[in-house]
């Protein structure tokens, strides 16, 4: 009934709600990747970490009945993947991008392997806070039903933005990322810093995966991720390694991802699959627009192999 009442207004409203819902994994993965890349390494394996995080969160939530324990499990699993990437990349001639691709395949394979028995049972969801109770319109209520992880992600973005500028740890990460030699001169071990930065990045990506399986879409299937982990890496470049930029870009991507379902909800089904490609096309356009062959990217960590 009400669906027809607000007519086409349903599209921007559904996109807003969708942006909030869809963007949360982007926020966590891109913040994690921002930490890793600021330290001078790139971890393309976060896609695999995301999928494995989604599986482990769901499995633990099914077995214990607590979504928060699931979330913790996903964080720990992500930490392990991140630490492994950080450790193996310290060896000479080992390419961090290629290892990332391998971990992407390995993480997804492992998640499918252990996730098989958990496709059927259902797990408890992470809680959401209804901010839309003032309205009688169900679409508004649905759009403003905000999951706690989104709020935590937003707070984390602000905190990281502050921490990179104002804390000792933030400075250490930035020095290692800009010049390993300068870091060594300061008595820092770049490999240790990168190991920890990649570990934290992996933990955040795991949490992003937990959101996928425990809230939206809210179940574990083998098609749970559609490349969010990878798009988040591109998104960090677009955001110029700035955590606040990552948050804004994640919302933008979430909105693009919600375009297809939003149009479908008001009856536009033509070209559904093309709208489904919107986030990928948007990422590609942004990458083309912001890259340049003649100058290095502003704000890029000096040691990052992807911008050299």
């Amino acid at each position: 009934m009400e669906t027809t009442d607000i007519g086409l207004w349903g599209v921007p409203l559904a996109m807003l709600g969708g942006a909030i819902r869809v963007s949360t994994p982007f926020i966590f993965v891109s913040l994690g990747e921002a930490i890793t890349e600021r330290s001078g390494r790139i971890n393309l394996g976060l896609e695999g970490t995301l999928v494995f995080g989604a599986m482990s969160a769901y499995a633990v939530a099914v077995m214990t009945g607590s979504p928060w324990l699931g979330l913790a499990a996903a964080g720990v699993a992500g930490l392990c993947f991140g630490l492994f990437h950080g450790w193996i990349c310290k060896f000479p001639k080992v390419n961090d991008i290629a290892i990332g691709i391998a971990l992407m395949l390995f993480g997804t394979g492992l998640a499918f392997f252990f996730g098989k028995p958990f496709i059927q049972p259902s797990a408890p969801d992470l809680p959401a806070i209804p901010f839309g109770t003032w309205s009688d319109i169900p679409q508004v209520q649905a759009a403003l039903n905000v999951n706690v992880l989104f709020l935590i992600g937003a707070a984390l973005a602000v905190f990281l933005w502050w921490a990179f500028r104002n804390t000792r740890i933030g400075l250490i990460v930035r020095v290692v990322g800009d010049s390993a030699d300068a870091a060594r001169a300061m008595g820092l071990n770049p490999n240790t810093v990168r190991l920890l930065a990649t570990g934290v990045g992996g933990a955040l990506a795991g949490i992003g995966g937990a959101y996928l399986s425990l809230y939206y879409p809210g179940s574990w299937t083998e098609r749970i991720s559609s490349g969010q982990g990878l798009m988040a890496v591109a998104l960090v470049i677009f955001a110029r390694w700035n955590p606040l930029g990552c948050f804004a870009a994640a919302l933008l991507f979430g909105g693009a991802g919600a375009l297809g379902p939003a149009l479908q909800s008001v009856g536009v089904t033509q070209g559904y699959y093309l709208f489904y490609a919107a986030p990928y096309i948007l990422t590609l356009i942004i990458m083309i627009a912001t890259s340049s062959p003649s100058r290095a990217l502003a704000g890029a960590p000096g040691e990052l192999s992807i911008t050299r």
């Binding site: 991008i97 395949l105 390995f106 098989k116 559609s226």
Partner: protein, 374 residues
Amino acid sequence: MTDTVSSADVRTILDARGYRPALEWIARRAETFVIPLAALIVGMVLFSLFILAVGKSPVQLYETMWRGGFGSWFSIQNSLSRAAPLLLAALCVALPARLGLVVIGGEGAIVLGGVAAAAIGVALNGAPSVLVIFLMGVGGVAAGGIWIGAVGALRHYRAVNETISSLLMAYIAIALMNHLVEGPLRDPASLNKPSTQPLADIYRIGNIPGMEVHWGLVVGILACLLSWLLIEKTRWGFAARIAGGNVRAAQVQGLAVGPLIVGFTALAGGFAGLAGMLEVAAVQGSANGSLAAGYGYTGILVAFLARHNPLAIIPVAILLGGIDASGGLIQRRMDLPDATVLVLQGMLFIVILFSETFYGRFKLFNPDLWQRST
């Protein structure tokens, strides 16, 4: 008088018989052979530990894998059929890699190559079969070539990272295929699995005589041989190897790096597109969601395992085709998930990349050790 022969004597004898150059030749090449092989074995041992940890017998697993992949004429043919698209998909990674580019979106080129071939085959229904099959091949190569060539062009002229852009383009290609197969190109008769209209039988590619393996295997092997000749024996290949080593040096030498990058990536994508065309013309009979079967991703592993050498791709693709083929048998016989094969592939991939760190570390492989002492 003594029976023992000093090492100096050995060298003299070897010199006299002309063995020394042979030893040097072997030492020079042994490294690129022994290290990947050792890595393969280490990867399989690690996988055994994993299988033990989940409470199954690794011996039984490898035995099942052997039986499913290479144990009988039937399974060998099955493996070879799966190797055919892997050969072409691996070239899509290996050729750009010689230029220092990591292109991982071959899946997109396979999918679009298949759709283009199917569209041509349906549109030209009624024309002579040789012409149609040829044009389907051209269409597949063109679709894949444009797709990955664009990745190369973006890389060179806009400095867009090719790894990420190629993977994004793969997602876009799959969305495009779904759109075309469920919309404009859909055969109304395909209810459960949206597909394009089936190709007429005369436009299908058959099997190699005496085998249950389609001609795609021959095409794939030929493509590998041609790629090897291109890289090792032509001036373009030489230029590509220089640019892969150091782009700046190549530019100083006056090499046209831009056209080189676009040309190599387009050729690479063309091979992947051809794999899609073969899947349609020889296996599926129409374009549908089965085109995105993951050959593009396994191809990445094949190329890295072969260290981007087109000749080495041939045995590696057959090996991984066999591992792929045994997945079903492992699932049925050992009650393990079908993702078991993915775990093995992931482990092998990581170990192979890790083994890069050992190149140049062993004295045994140093040709100087075997060189003439004065």
